[in-house]
């Protein structure tokens, strides 16, 4: 079987891997690049646990072919913290106890980051609808929403 050679950028660093044509980006990230922070919860785009940014846009990596990453920028949960410093979202998730088992947390943080990158002052409803594609079974979403709203407020203060 012949494999494709894909050169791409992941979390700001050049990366490359070999993959089969029908392999999805999630598998390539986890199994080829060792970036296991993105999770498979369903493989059909219904749970958000595999969320990554592709050229800055929030996508379900289980429904992106690995080959499509060629010449594109991929951001995963591993790239959200800058150097050793947690992103405000990560810090707020911890403070608000917005995670229990934590399996959905990487997807939520990537998705919330995509929201706040676009809309620095979302309403509770806007946050809930933006994150409707991220399933959580442990928290009932309450503390997650509070953490995201608090992060937005914190980021607005930093810019002000």
């Amino acid at each position: 079987m012949s494999r494709l050679h894909v050169e791409t950028t992941v979390n700001g660093e050049a990366a490359e891997f070999l993959c089969e044509a029908q392999e999805n980006l999630l598998t390539a990230l986890r199994d080829r690049l060792g970036l296991t922070g993105s999770k498979e919860g369903c493989g059909t785009g219904d749970c958000g646990a595999c969320s990554v940014l592709l050229d800055g846009r929030l996508v379900p990596s289980c429904l992106v072919l690995a080959a499509e990453a060629r010449d594109r920028q991929v951001t995963t949960i591993e790239g959200v913290a800058e150097g050793g410093k947690l992103h405000v979202l990560q810090q707020k998730f911890l403070e608000h106890a917005a995670l229990q088992c934590g399996i959905c947390t990487p997807g939520f943080i990537v998705a919330a980051k995509a929201l706040l990158d676009r809309n620095p002052d979302p309403s509770e409803e806007e946050v809930r609808y933006w994150l409707a594609g991220n399933l959580c079974r442990c928290t009932g979403y309450d503390k997650i929403i509070r953490a995201v709203l608090d992060s937005a407020a914190e980021l607005r203060k930093e810019i002000a």
Partner: protein
């Protein structure tokens, strides 16, 4: 170390670290994607395993031809039922012992496929793609049998029988001895139904139905197993109970317990569904044949098709009440659809349904009924939600008919300390009244409602387990400590354990490192489940920390050359007797001298805890209904619960909110749908509809604390009761909003519209 706990006379009330909200120690790894879950693990040389599943809901397996699969390049091992002997061992699986014959049969069928998706073979190959291709080459010959797909069909005379040998456990005296699909029966009774109903002014009788629903953990089952040439087995898996995995695999595979080491990964949700085994023995058997480590991960479709949902139910209930609101009698007949193997719901449903109320006369009869559907597994307070939903609905109806406030009606009938539970023992201090009072005085209860909105209230109960736990606390030379237990951390128990050690040793929480040990690193521990970790394992942690304190005092005594009994401990330091003119020695100072005063200090404890104090909860739900489409939205929700003592309030709130969300999903949209052949129609998160963020409002919480005297801090289990009240709360809100009393869940838009149309 004492094996049985001696309860303190009065739980402690003043705390420095317990009751605070520290950042959980595993948090940073989880928010950065570093935490390792079941599928995040590899071993050198690892190959990949997949299973072959029955396409028929009920069939005899005539033959399995694996030759073509075995010949495929890259394939290293193929197994079928022939590779795993059937057995009848009993192994403790946590909340009740598991009959290993059923567990083993469920992992890999012998002779009969009992549900669509039942595993009949497994194959391991160098790559996942090869394994999947090989699986398609395995040829299975079936003789299709008629499937049984609902309770009525299963109990009807002449029904197709799933297990020829099965007879009803607990069947009534004089019941005929012939094949049946009723696996078990439980009965509880008190007084005289005849007298009780005769004394009633008002009698309501209804039939309720709920469907099978899944725990819905976001992380599918996953494991890596390595069978070494010397017969040692290593298993990495996502589980609520590494010791249960060890015991069950040993029993299923006929291996010595002591040859198996299980390491629990971080767990991506369980809710009871990961207290059993599915892939693990298969991975071990494949590894044994392949002489290579084998990784197996379920797809979401497999999780929904073939892992244990909670039973569906049919309840016929009749209750009698005097016009002053006091209950006089109750008759409850339940049938729980348990899938292809006997479940335990007959017992817990019988125990829970009337647990919250004083009823002088009752007769409860509950059955586990088999159908050709996946084997049920525990789901958060197993049995209680569907058992209490009918009772909470009827109480709401009584309240309407009598013109009484539904909370007042419950207060009138609520159980108190000293009342006998339906299953026998007297309740100790319990907080049902307190939670009802908190609900009544909560602003939610008196807030105005808008048009098309209705408000429902309902209660819940769960006994909470005790079971066995072990803990080790070690001290480091810099005065920090590590605590190891055997319980995978689902809800934040590591943080709570760190707080307990901090409390007992008076060191900051950040200086305590909590972790989950594998089956070789810590003594036997029962599952993370039964709402028992904070209670029972917490007790072991506290005792282990006390052990450390005793040893520290002994070291100080040695340094001061006094009797150990003369040394006292307070405020984080050992204090000399008053007669001695010496300054106290702090934990840090003593720890620094450990090596010179006798060696490392390790505190340990193991115990068999009594049942944790029962927990009660009350939920208030406001529902807004679109009467033209039947679509409804939860617009406000409040959960109130007695936690005894909340060690980490944020994580107690988290349990309350998470359980409420699951219960709301169960009440409104979640259900297993099967076609006429017994194939699940909605085996994906698209059509198995769990609540999403936009479906829910903020979930307000109130933690009531009625201390549980069997725990040093007064802790009660908190993890399970949250899922019990929502079914009643949502259904009662629907009744108030629409004027229609729905007795069947889920309250999907279609069902609601049909109900509204029927009402006219």
């Amino acid at each position: 170390m004492s094996a049985l706990l001696k309860p303190r006379s009065e739980p402690r009330r003043n705390f420095k670290y317990v009751g605070q909200r520290p950042i959980r120690h595993d948090g940073p790894d989880k928010v950065t994607g570093r935490a390792n879950y079941g599928a995040d693990f590899t071993l050198p040389g690892m190959i990949h395993g997949v299973v072959v599943r029955s396409p028929h809901a009920h069939a005899r397996i005539l033959s399995i031809d694996t030759r073509e699969a075995e010949a495929m390049p890259g394939v290293k091992a193929v197994i079928t039922g022939a590779d795993i002997a059937q057995n009848r061992a009993q192994v403790s699986m946590g909340e009740g012992s598991g009959d290993m014959h059923d567990v083993s049969e469920n992992c890999l069928a012998h002779g009969k496929a009992l549900y669509h998706g039942h595993v009949v073979a497994a194959v391991a190959a160098m790559t996942l793609t090869q394994a999947q291709a090989a699986a398609r080459l395995i040829k299975v010959q079936y003789e299709k049998l008629k499937p049984v797909l609902d309770i009525e069909s299963a109990i009807a005379p002449g029904a197709p029988i799933l297990h020829d040998h099965l007879r009803t456990e607990g069947r009534a005296a004089g019941a005929p001895d012939r094949p049946t699909n009723i696996a078990a029966r439980a009965v509880l009774e008190r007084g005289s139904l005849e007298q009780g109903f005769a004394a009633a002014d008002l009698v309501i009788e209804r039939e309720f139905r709920t469907r099978m629903v899944h725990q819905g953990y976001i992380e599918p089952h996953a494991c890596v197993a390595r069978y070494s040439p010397d017969g040692q087995v290593f298993i990495w898996c996502t589980t609520q109970g590494p010791f249960q995995v060890r015991g069950a695999c040993a029993a299923v595979l006929g291996m010595d317990l002591g040859r198996i080491k299980v390491v629990a990964s971080e767990i991506g949700g369980g809710f009871g569904g990961k207290t059993t085994i599915y892939l693990e023995p298969l991975a071990v058997a494949l590894s044994r044949k392949a002489s290579l480590p084998v990784k197996m991960v379920m797809t979401r479709e497999e999780v929904l098709r073939a892992t244990g949902p909670t039973p569906g139910s049919r309840t016929r209930i009749k209750m009698g009440m005097k016009k002053d609101g006091r209950l006089t009698a109750a008759s409850v007949t339940m049938h729980c659809e348990s899938g292809a193997f006997a479940g335990l719901a007959h017992r817990s449903t019988a125990m829970c349904c009337l647990s919250a109320y004083r009823i002088p006369n009752f007769f409860i009869e509950s059955h586990s009924v088999l159908t050709n559907k996946p084997k049920v597994a525990a789901y958060r307070a197993p049995g209680a939600p569907m058992a209490m939903f009918p009772v909470e609905s009827l109480l709401d109806e009584f309240a309407q008919k009598l013109g009484m406030d539904p909370i007042d009606l419950r207060l009138l009938n609520a159980v108190e300390e000293g009342d006998a539970a339906p299953y026998g023992p007297k309740y100790g201090p319990i907080g049902y009244r307190e939670t009802l009072q908190a609900a009544k005085s909560h602003p939610h209860w008196s807030a105005p409602l808008k048009p098309n909105q209705g408000r429902g209230v309902a209660a819940g109960f769960w006994f909470n387990a005790g079971l066995n736990s072990s803990a080790v606390v070690t001290l480091d030379a810099d005065g920090s400590a590590a605590v190891v237990t055997g319980n995978p951390d689902i809800g934040g128990t590591r943080a709570a354990q760190a707080q307990m050690v901090a409390e007992e040793l008076d060191i900051p929480v950040e200086r305590v490192r909590p972790s989950v040990g594998d089956t070789d690193s810590v003594g036997y521990t029962d599952v993370t489940g039964g709402s028992r970790v904070c209670f029972a394992t917490g007790m072991a942690v506290i005792q282990a920390a006390e052990d450390v304190r005793r040893q520290l005092c002994a070291r100080a005594a040695k340094i001061w050359n006094v009797e150990a009994e003369a040394v006292t401990w307070s405020e984080g330091a050992a204090h000399p007797p008053a007669s001695l003119d010496k300054k106290p020695l702090s934990l840090k100072e003593l720890a620094a001298q450990m090596a010179r005063t006798g060696g490392p200090i390790i505190g340990r404890a193991s115990l068999s805890a009594p049942a944790a104090g029962p927990a009660f909860a009350v939920n208030i739900c406001d529902l807004e209904v679109d009467k033209e489409t039947g679509v409804s939205r939860v617009v406000r929700y409040t959960a109130i619960q007695d936690a005894g003592k909340a060690v980490h309030p944020s994580y107690v709130e988290g349990q309350m909110q998470g359980g409420a969300a699951q219960g709301i999903g169960w009440a409104l949209n979640e259900e297993y749908r099967f076609d006429a052949e017994g194939k699940m129609e909605n085996a994906s998160f698209l059509d198995y509809r769990m609540p999403v963020a936009s479906d829910l409002p903020m979930i307000d919480t109130v933690i009531v604390e009625v201390p549980n005297p069997t725990h040093p801090y007064g802790v009660r289990g908190v993890g399970e009761v949250p899922i019990v009240p929502p079914l009643g709360a949502v259904a009662n809100a629907m009744a108030r909003a629409t004027g229609v009393r729905f007795t069947e869940l889920p309250l999907s838009p279609m069902r609601v519209l049909e109900g509204l149309d029927a009402k006219g």
